[in-house]
């Protein structure tokens, strides 16, 4: 059970749950599936036929309901870790199971099982069916396979990449970090990869299959100078093929982490209170994720608990502000060929030239509002039910230059890198943690700052975005995870340099 205020955290630190160096247990048919084979995987490997699906769906709808769906998942997570100079540990997690959902209006019955046997799945379906109390409804007679774009094509399955290819890459990050500065005293580095295969079958006749990669290379560096220690890290990744991880990428991870650590030795504490804040391009898009993105998830709005519940169609920002949530950007962490309900991945404009235009819908909220799903129905795993979620959220570029934005501030702070965002949906109050930034004095970037929490209010902040620059960047990290209702899903962020004329900066000087 999660408490509501704990439901909206966002972590971008390079933590990973588990990872894999072993192959899962496979049948011969199963092994024959390659990176380019996404159809028929569950039928060949686990005997999940259309007839069986129809039988389970019929059980799920035995007491009525608007629709039911099945979600089959087989995920292999691998995590290689280097510590004290050697890649000396590896973690593997294999998740195999099926989730069965019955929906009646906005009510959900849900059962799941880790055994893909007919008996277990029928039992889970019977649990799901308890949400309804009328007469049985019938699933579609035939399932039609969904054709989708592929926003994350793979040349090779990550599980087919030998350890002999992964180990030197992680080792080289470590060696490069130490080579870059004699002040470096500790390095941890690792490679995390997730390979998820899913099959979604709905009583409306939809059938969709997907193969989702998710991976990143990371390092954390500790340096010591005059008895003082500082720590910082960096990661690069997303929904990538292993060919993305070149020596240049490994070098970039190391170089960025070391540079980010060294600058902290000069960091100062910013003043506390309300001041202008300039957010640099890229990862700072977490601001949008917290300040507006969560509030636009339609479950919060159909329940009327979001601060944005009555603002659709209204002017919420200046006309140069356009904010998008997009599943179709190649290789980014939040991209989806198909969402977890079988709706194709798509692009949703949340704010169009300052006007609030669309919530993020799953099937339940789409039916509630009488609109089409935006393909935003996501879940962490077969153990979890669907929620409307963000994918890759960003603001389009504006007319100013980054220099113009910084020069316009007499005294404020420049935010370069952030983490640990959180929002209170009903109030719209949000926070994010600045791990890297600078003071702005007389229109110029001056002393570095670090370890500062910034707070604001979503609707107020949107109105206070007074400048948007022309340098939109998407974050290139692959470790961004968004939490909601006890579920974590990978997401992406992007933003150009923007000026928010006032946010509250946490500090120790009153």
């Amino acid at each position: 059970m999660q408490q509501l205020t704990r439901r909206y955290f966002l972590k971008t630190t390079a933590t990973a749950a588990a990872g894999a160096v072993v192959l899962p247990v496979l049948s011969r048919d199963w092994l024959a599936f390659s990176a380019t084979d996404t159809k028929g995987y569950f039928e060949a490997g686990f005997g999940i036929t259309d007839d069986l699906c129809r039988k389970i769906l019929a059980r799920a709808l035995a007491r009525g309901g608007d629709f039911a769906d099945l979600y089959f998942e087989h995920t292999i997570t691998n995590y290689l870790m280097l510590e004290d100079g050697k890649v000396n540990r590896a973690f593997t997690n294999i998740a195999l199971g099926a989730g069965i959902r019955t929906v009646k209006g906005d009510q959900v019955g849900y059962g799941y099982t880790q055994e893909l046997t007919e008996q277990s799945m029928l039992a889970a379906a019977a649990t799901a069916a308890t949400i309804a109390t009328s007469t049985a409804t019938t699933p579609a007679g035939a399932f039609i396979g969904l054709k989708t774009e592929n926003y994350y094509p793979l040349k090779t399955l990550m599980s087919d990449i030998p350890l002999s290819s992964k180990l030197p890459m992680v080792q080289s990050v470590n060696d490069r970090c130490f080579a870059l500065s004699p002040l470096v005293i500790k390095v941890t580095a690792g490679f995390n990869d997730v390979q998820k295969r899913v099959l979604i079958v709905s009583s409306d006749g939809t059938k969709a299959e997907d193969l989702l990669p998710s991976n990143f290379l990371f390092t954390n560096v500790v340096a010591e100078k005059n008895g003082r220690k500082e720590r910082a890290g960096w990661n690069l990744g997303g929904r990538k093929d292993f060919s993305f991880y070149t020596q240049a990428i490994a070098d970039e991870v190391a170089k960025t982490a070391v540079e980010r650590t060294m600058i902290l030795f000069d960091a100062v504490k910013p003043p506390a209170g309300e001041i202008p804040v300039v957010l640099g391009p890229g990862l700072t898009g977490i601001l949008l994720h917290e300040a507006i993105g969560h509030g636009m998830e339609a479950d919060f709005n159909r329940k009327k608990i979001s601060t944005y519940a009555t603002m659709l169609g209204k002017q919420v920002a200046e006309p140069f502000v356009t904010i998008i949530d997009d599943a179709t950007l190649p290789g980014l962490p939040g991209s989806l060929n198909v969402d977890d309900e079988g709706t194709p991945g798509q692009k949703t404009v949340l704010v169009d030239k300052g006007i609030l235009t669309s919530y993020l819908h799953d099937k339940i909220s789409a039916r509630h509002y009488g609109v089409a799903s935006t393909g935003s129905g996501r879940r962490q795993s077969y153990e979890h039910y669907i929620q409307p979620r963000m994918r890759n959220t960003y603001m389009l570029a504006g007319p100013a230059t980054p220099d113009d934005v910084i020069k316009s501030v007499e005294k404020g702070i420049y935010v370069q890198d952030v983490s640990n965002g959180q929002v209170k949906i009903g109030e719209g109050d949000f926070a994010f943690y600045v791990s890297q930034g600078r003071m702005i004095e007389n229109g110029k970037l001056t002393a570095p700052i670090k370890d500062v929490n910034i707070m604001g209010n979503g609707p107020k902040m949107l109105k206070n975005v007074t400048m948007v620059a022309n340098d939109l960047q998407m974050s290139r990290g692959g470790a961004g995870m968004c939490g909601k209702g006890g579920q974590g899903v990978p997401v992406g962020f992007g933003q150009p340099t923007i000026l928010v004329k006032s946010l509250t900066v946490g500090g120790t000087q009153a």
Partner: protein, 440 residues
């Protein structure tokens, strides 16, 4: 002992050994979970499942890996373990990777921790629905016309766990958890819709508060958020409410692990035996609290647990030391992770303390923020209530507190008498003086 799980663990160890593992540790968990939530006086979600998972840690030629799977069919598992052992041998050697010395397994306390409630198996779907309906009804009644939404939830879980290691460890435990609570949203000024909540978890059904008590507390907490505003930046005493203390304490705890010390990521690395907080602050790791949510007779490595005073009257007494990082540091292991964290309570209630404090802020929640375990720097968003001599003045929101843990815990001026019983962190409310609270 759960014979089925034990037999599977023994069988798994045999397979690992035959495949070439020098040593291994196997844990198997089996459980059942049920969740029911209500909204608008009808079920919103009903969820139920039985789960099983096996993890195995392989030690082969001083090399190490850990594997986890939910596929426990024996033919699948055999290949899984054999592959795990083969792959482990490809990693770099690490001389510190071994199973613990078996002497640390011995001496498990002979005490009934009271963490399993046999009543779990008699809990009916009707009883669950009746409880959650009653919580929702209390919230709706108390909330009146200001209510926008109430979602009430109950959940329960039974978990059986066995842990075995090839050098003689054999341990098992069974746990139950019962959770109940609700989230409520009210209409405030403008577009603000404060969302309050109250959830409680216990190991025994009989110790869960009644539905009406829970509902009333949900409503009280949510109404207290109405009218929340940001006030000017000010240096004030603050009281951190008992259930929210872990958010601050966690920043201190993160630096008290052997891994943080060995990896040079602990601002407390050289502080053992030194004062790191005011003398009013004592922190105990007590694994043997009867009915405690963190109670246990053995830890994740099988080490027998015992009560430890981690911080004694402000002096750092111990670190959490697991076997591996203990060997790297040359330290004797204590335990790899906390059980029940106990701060001995003081004598006065929060109400009494507030009367004497003058103007201050009662912090009832945190938002965002972080803590740097390497430097001790921390900064967090807060909300709560401004008070003056015990009288509420104004709800506050969208504000921040910041500092460094080595300074912050010296500002602790009083410990209240109200330890939070619904968590393994049994923390009373804490009073800190001279805290800069950033606002306008």
């Amino acid at each position: 002992m759960n014979k089925e799980l034990l037999d599977l663990a023994k069988w798994s160890m045999k397979i690992a050994n035959s495949a070439g593992a020098d040593e291994c540790r196997v844990g198997i968990q089996s459980g059942r979970t049920v969740e029911v939530s209500y909204r608008e006086r009808k079920p919103e979600n009903i969820k139920e499942a039985s789960t099983r998972a096996l993890f195995i840690e392989v030690f082969a030629s001083h090399r190490y890996s850990a594997q986890n799977t939910s596929d426990l069919r024996k033919d699948s598992l055999k290949t899984f373990i054999e592959n795990a052992v083969a792959s482990t041998k490809l990693l770099a050697e690490d001389p510190f990777r071994t199973l613990p010395d078996p002497k640390f397994y011995r001496g498990r306390a002979d005490v009934d921790l009271g963490v399993f409630d046999a009543a779990y198996d008699t809990l009916s779907p009707e009883a669950r629905h009746a409880t959650v309906k009653a919580i929702e009804e209390t919230c709706l009644t108390k909330g009146g016309p200001k209510v926008i939404s109430v979602t009430a939830e109950v959940s329960d879980e039974r978990s059986d766990f066995v842990l075995m290691a090839s050098n003689g460890l054999e341990a098992q435990r069974s746990l139950t958890y019962f959770t109940a609570g609700a989230a409520m949203t009210l209409q405030d000024e403008g577009s603000r819709r404060p969302n309050g909540y109250h959830f409680v978890t216990t190991v025994a059904k009989r110790t869960l508060p009644g539905a009406e008590e829970i509902g009333l507390e949900v409503a009280r907490r949510t109404f207290d958020l109405l009218g929340g505003v940001k006030i000017k930046t000010e240096t004030l005493p603050v009281i951190i409410e008992n259930s929210n203390v872990p958010r601050v304490l966690n920043g201190l705890i993160a630096a008290m692990y052997a891994r943080a010390v060995q990896q040079k990521q602990s601002f407390l690395a050289d502080k053992k035996g030194k004062r790191i907080a005011c003398e009013r602050f004592t922190l105990i790791d007590d694994p043997h609290v009867v009915g405690g949510l963190g109670s246990r007779l053995f830890d994740g490595e099988g080490l027998a647990t015992r009560k430890r005073v981690m911080i004694d009257a402000g002096v750092l007494n111990e670190f959490w030391v697991d076997w591996y990082y203990g060997r790297k540091l040359g330290w004797e292991p204590t335990t790899g992770g906390m059980s029940n964290l106990v701060i001995p309570p003081g004598k006065r209630s929060v109400k009494e303390i507030m009367k004497d404090l003058g103007r201050g802020i009662l912090i009832t929640g945190f938002i965002g923020g972080n803590s740097n375990s390497t430097t001790g720097d921390t900064s967090m968003g807060i909300f709560g209530r401004l008070f003056d001599h015990g009288e509420p003045v104004q709800a506050v929101a969208e504000m921040n507190i910041a500092g460094n843990h080595l300074e912050f815990w010296q500002k602790l001026s009083e410990v209240a008498s109200d330890p939070w019983p619904y968590s393994s962190w049994r923390t009373p409310s804490l009073v800190f003086t001279d805290v800069v609270v950033s606002g306008t």
